[in-house]
């Protein structure tokens, strides 16, 4: 069959349709149906109780904070919050499942719809500012399972993670490339961290993804045969799996082959997807309403309280920063990537007449030094008013930009205010014409050759003389004042 593929088939152009089901650990102190802590890295089976171990007779009790954060996530993506929703049992047997059913939400999720806007700048700096929107189908709340471990002759299960609240964020098949999927996930992660909904710590397995992917001839309306790739836990893995799988599907169709609805697994080492089960072997989860939990009905008052927690989203913040402070979109992107950093910038920018320069200092010097010292923005020894003060010192000509760099080093080292450092070190820029004039006379006297060059019309010679004067002043002279003084003396 493949051999007989016609030229038409082989030349057909395809487009890729990707939808993501993203499981995100909701940031709560305790598990979703019991009082066990959600901390990571504890001794195996130490954060467990009869409820999260599925002991006979135990009953779940919903953690209101998990509901609140899921609803907040819904508000952040502009979704509809269900006034009435319920939990269901999803039945399947697996050793890491304490009850052999998972409490999840089937037909009445907490959150319906919503959108996530993503920027292509994340995959290509040149495309910064080019955005697209991915529609969400729903967000629901469910419980996580335990973790299986396989030893030489036996297996074990650690149930510490069992019962940790998970949000499942289901997108429409709006994404059309691995780059878009990556940009979407990055934007989604940014939103969730912003809202305090999840830490989205990939290394702790707090974000996991199922990828639904199909291809169809360009222009065709109906979706092609859907393939699901299960349980990806890195964004780069998602990217590679999509690239591989979409290519596999297109090549199969180009060869005249047929695709089947199936679930596949991504093998990160081999870099391929492989079939896990086909539709005939798909699980029948036998969902039915969870009788141990009451349906969730959210009052207007309760929702109003949650609405107060809604922060400004990164994308909106970026746009506002560009407009209000006149900083470049790139800097706004860097500054808005973290809510605390954005707050830091705004505090400094509001205290300054030159927010652009403030942004520069933060994006270049401060972030570099913080990264080197492995400090978070909240731990910065340099406080926002100090940045504003430093900018003011440069702009008013009190110190040179060159000296400012040294001042910043001191600020970071000591946490002192820049004006205090400048005073202490005697780094005030010399603009006094008398002092500068004296330095100029010395330099002119000591460099007859360069002076001759300048007089012969070599304009660049002035730079060399200026440099000498600056050196003599230990960098404190105002360079423009020096140039002006030299020119006056040599041409006058």
């Amino acid at each position: 069959m493949a051999e007989g593929a016609t030229g038409d088939l082989a030349a057909m152009e395809y487009e890729i349709c990707i939808g993501l089901e993203t499981h995100v650990q909701v940031k709560t102190r305790t598990k979703v149906f019991c009082a066990c802590p959600t901390e990571f890295g504890a001794e195996p089976n130490s954060n467990v109780c009869p409820v999260c171990l599925g002991y006979p007779g135990s009953l779940p009790v919903i953690n209101e904070e998990a509901i609140r954060k899921t609803v907040l996530a819904g508000m952040l993506v502009g979704a509809k919050i269900a006034r009435y929703s319920k939990f269901d049992r999803k039945n399947y047997f697996y050793p890491d499942m304490p009850k052999n059913y998972q409490i999840s939400q089937y037909d009445l999720p907490l959150v319906i719809g919503g959108t996530v806007e993503y920027d292509f700048g994340i995959v290509d700096k040149k495309r910064l500012g080019e955005t697209k929107v991915c529609h969400l189908t729903r967000i629901h709340l469910e419980e996580d399972v335990g973790k299986n471990f396989h030893f030489e002759r036996t297996s074990g299960v650690d149930f510490n993670r069992a019962g940790t609240p998970l949000m499942e964020i289901v997108s429409e098949p709006d994404l059309s490339s691995s780059d878009e999927a990556f940009a979407y996930l990055t934007a989604l992660k940014e939103i969730l961290i912003y809202g305090g909904i999840s830490d989205c710590d990939m290394e702790k397995g707090q974000v996991r993804c199922d990828v639904n992917i199909s291809v169809r001839p360009k222009g065709q309306k109906e979706l092609g045969q859907k393939v699901e790739i299960k349980n990806m836990n890195t964004f780069s893995g998602v990217r590679h799996a999509i690239d591989y799988e979409s290519q596999r599907q297109i090549e199969t169709l180009r060869r005249g082959g047929k695709l089947v609805q199936e679930t596949r697994r991504w093998d990160d080492v081999a870099g391929v997807t492989e079939s896990m089960r086909t539709k005939e072997h798909a699980h029948d989860y036998r969902y039915f309403p969870e009788p141990d939990l009451l349906p969730v009905s959210l009052s207007e008052e309760w929702l109003a309280e949650v609405r107060k927690l809604v922060p400004e989203l990164p994308s909106a913040k970026r746009k506002r920063m560009v407009e209000r402070y006149g900083i470049p979109l790139y800097d706004a992107g860097v500054l808005s990537a973290d809510a605390a950093l954005a707050d830091y910038f705004e505090a400094a920018a509001k205290a300054s007449k030159n927010p652009k320069s403030v942004a520069n200092w933060i994006c270049n010097d401060l972030l570099r030094d913080l990264a080197e010292a492995k400090l978070a923005i909240g731990q910065s020894p340099v406080k926002p008013p100090h940045i504003a003060e430093l900018v003011e010192l440069v702009d008013s000509g009190r110190i040179s930009s060159k000296i400012a760099k040294d001042v910043f080093v001191e600020m970071f080292k000591t946490g002192k205010a820049p004006a205090a450092i400048v005073a202490e070190k005697g780094w005030v820029q010399v603009s006094d014409t008398g002092a500068i004039g004296k330095f100029c006379d010395e330099v002119i006297a000591a460099n007859p050759k360069i002076v001759a060059d300048f007089k012969a019309g070599k304009e660049v010679a002035l730079n060399a003389l200026t440099g000498q004067v600056m050196k003599l002043s230990k960098g404190k002279a105002n360079p423009q004042a020096v140039r002006d003084a030299l020119r006056a003396k040599l041409t006058g």
Binding site: N91, Y101, D292
Partner: protein, 487 residues
């Protein structure tokens, strides 16, 4: 008279006045249990030493002048379906062999808070699935009135222990009649509270939307006392209701004058035992002579109850019992090749035939393609059944019916025919589907052999005071409670 023969309200008075000690009562309870258990087999296990020690502790606290709970020093037998910390909890099943409860069920904690002493593990149909205790993996319990007969079920051990005066009261669970039916067949009082009245936390679930824990007692006053002790909202059970808990004994005035009692025509059916029907009708006449007004009512969807029950209960059970897989507790099959093989072997060896049958049925009704036709439709009919009752309660304060269609049958008589067995719950299942409350109170005996018959009194949600009042007035107007089996 041995102290184990007395009611809680008789005992409490004498204990409070220090005429008797809790240790005396405990000794009589242990002596009686040791004497009858070889023939009765109400208990799967009990620990006399532990009971005695706890009783002595109560006596010491009383001697020190500490404030005592209303059930101080009263041993209460516990059905094997309730978690009692440090004790086995096998639910009459081999699959929970070796499981030791790591926590107290809320009702146990509440009993302890009231001063009661949880005692022993009472036999039951495996996972509360059955009407005779014949489905227990550890042998059948016998009816104290006739050792060749079943005590009813699934809380057969709980009913038999009270009827045989082993303990003054016991706890059971009722999913489709598992308290009221054995209470009726053993001639004791058994009450199923309104769904949500008593916390289910620590009750090993059979069907979560139907299960309720309730008391067995020698008379209505004792049932009211125990109910008061175990009721109330529990933060560990979301389905428990924050309805205030009254002093139920205050409702026991003996006065039913002017009360309207509904007599549903659907509960007097052609196939039922003539003596049972006669006893129920005589009881209704008696209530009428006490001043109650009898009104004819209809519960038109009654006939669908059994079918609806076996769909909803088995569906929920199929998920509830999925956790018994050998991974974390209970028995585990050896030499399994992989997890699926381990599940199959563990569950195949651990569950008895009735439990297996119900899991398969429940799995089937939830399966894709069948869900709408079975589960969803059953839920809709369940709503209609509840509506029947709610409409009936517009016309009457309580409903009276026979508890069961016949008296206790012989061991083995229906064991091979699950459908006939299911029919013994025909008058009780709809009460669970509707979520309302019901009590069974003795209302006579069959002649040959002499077997107890029960009258069921049903009330609206949280109408426990009303049904206790009616049952109590009837009880006090008759002498049935004074009869004791010869065992």
């Amino acid at each position: 008279m041995n102290l184990n023969e007395l009611t809680i309200h008789e005992l409490s008075g004498r204990l409070a006045k220090k005429e008797i000690a809790a240790a005396d009562l405990a000794r009589d309870v242990v002596a009686r249990t040791e004497a009858v258990e070889p023939r009765l087999h109400a208990f799967l296990e009990w620990n006399g030493g532990e009971l005695l020690a706890a009783a002595r502790d109560v006596d010491e606290r009383r001697a020190r002048g500490e404030a005592m709970g209303p059930l101080a020093g009263i041993p209460v037998g516990i059905k094997d379906v309730l978690n009692v910390k440090g004790h086995t909890c096998r639910c009459g099943s081999k699959i929970l062999q070796g499981y030791v409860a790591p926590y107290d069920a809320t009702v146990i904690a509440k009993l302890r808070a009231a001063g009661a002493i949880p005692f022993g593990r009472l036999n039951m149909d495996e996972f509360a699935m059955g009407s005779s205790t014949e489905n227990s993996a550890f042998g059948v319990t016998r009816n104290p009135w006739d050792l060749e007969r079943i005590p009813g079920g699934s809380s057969g051990g709980s009913a038999a222990a009270v009827a045989a005066s082993e303990t003054p009261a016991t706890l059971g669970s009722d999913t489709g009649g598992s308290i009221r039916q054995p209470a009726s067949l053993c001639g004791v009082v058994g009450l199923k509270p309104t769904y949500g009245r008593v916390s289910r936390f620590g009750l090993v679930a059979f069907a979560s939307s139907l299960d309720q824990i309730g008391p067995f007692a020698k008379d209505v006053t004792d049932a009211a006392l125990v109910l008061g002790a175990i009721s109330g909202k529990d933060p560990n059970d979301s389905t428990s209701v924050p309805e205030p808990v009254p002093d139920y004994t205050k409702a026991l005035t003996g006065d039913v004058k002017g009360m309207k009692l509904g007599l549903p025509k659907e509960y007097f059916i052609p196939g039922m035992d003539k003596e049972v029907e006669a006893a129920a009708r005589a009881a209704v006449d008696r209530l009428s002579s006490l001043g109650a007004e009898i009104v004819d009512i209809s519960l038109p969807h009654t006939d669908y109850g059994l079918a609806v029950y076996y769909i909803i209960a088995t569906a929920e059970a199929s998920a509830n019992l999925a956790r018994f897989d050998g991974v974390r507790y209970g028995s585990r099959a050896k030499d399994a090749k992989d997890p699926i093989d381990m599940y199959g072997r563990t569950r195949g060896a651990g569950f008895g035939p009735e439990v297996t049958r119900r899991i398969i049925l429940g799995t089937y009704v939830l399966s894709s393609g069948y869900y709408d036709a079975y589960y969803l439709r059953a839920q809709k009919v369940r709503t209609l059944i509840r509506r029947d009752f709610m409409e009936a309660f517009q016309k009457c304060d309580a409903i009276v019916t026979p508890t069961t269609p016949s008296a206790a049958f012989k061991i083995g008589e229906k064991a091979e025919d699950p459908l006939t067995m299911y029919l013994s719950d025909i008058f009780t299942v709809n009460v669970n589907l509707a979520g309302i409350c019901g009590v069974s109170v003795p209302c006579g005996f069959t002649k040959q052999p002499k077997l107890p018959i029960g009258l069921q009194v049903l009330g609206k949600p949280f109408g426990e005071e009303t049904i206790l009042k009616v049952a109590h007035a009837y009880e006090q107007a008759t002498d049935w409670r004074k009869a004791r089996p010869a065992i």
